[in-house]
């Protein structure tokens, strides 16, 4: 492998990611203890979203 960084051109790799185990991802997301329902913590998330939205150029 070339041991230098080239800043002048984009580099690409022909590579497909491996298949995703979506069932495991869904299982974690479905866990009732993961994530806040409401209250201040959710308010914080909404604030973050609002910041992203208002930041749009």
């Amino acid at each position: 492998m070339d041991n230098t960084i080239c800043f002048d051109e984009l580099k690409f790799k022909e590579e497909k990611l491996p298949p995703t185990n979506i069932d495991q991802i869904v299982k974690i997301l479905d866990d009732k203890n993961f994530g806040v329902k409401g209250g201040k913590a959710l308010e914080k998330i909404i604030e973050r979203i609002k910041t992203d939205e208002s930041d749009k150029g």
Partner: protein, 191 residues
Amino acid sequence: MSQTKDEDLIQEVHLTDGQINSLKNKSIIVDSCVLLYCEGQVFKSEIRKILRTLVNNKNRLGISLVSGFEVLSNSEIKFRKYFVKLLNYFKNIDVNRDILSNGVVLYRSYGRININYLKSISPCDFIIGGTAIYLKDAVLFTGDRRHFPSPIWDIVATVYITYKSFEEYRILNLYLLQPNIKIINKLANEK
């Protein structure tokens, strides 16, 4: 200050699928912000539907290791164990010298649009963007259009999550974006 009730915050959610079904057989790089939205149960269930749809259409999901860093350093401590498990079910893409080079080229192209604008963007976003460029034909899944702007990033699909908060309807936009290689090269190499 009066205590805020849960139901005052989010009362309804509607997911509008904007062309997401047209995406097939792609490598999809999931941005940190999409994962962090999962801290809210109401967003988590909608993002779950989107991820399921993408994978049902034979797309494959990955994250930059930098996103792992961003998620674990920005999430609530009590949810870290869930995020660690979650992050590991996405293909973790190492940051290598080619991806860093792509990040630098991307940084230069952004600078041609507006040099002051660069200050508001985290270096992590350039590495995540550089990762989406590196994997040929990859698509970036993000909620952060400001840091992945046009004309450098083209919209492939948009998903709107409409929710009601404080009696007001609001929209969370999520985007599937593809790098415009021609434009990036042109901007980055302008004298």
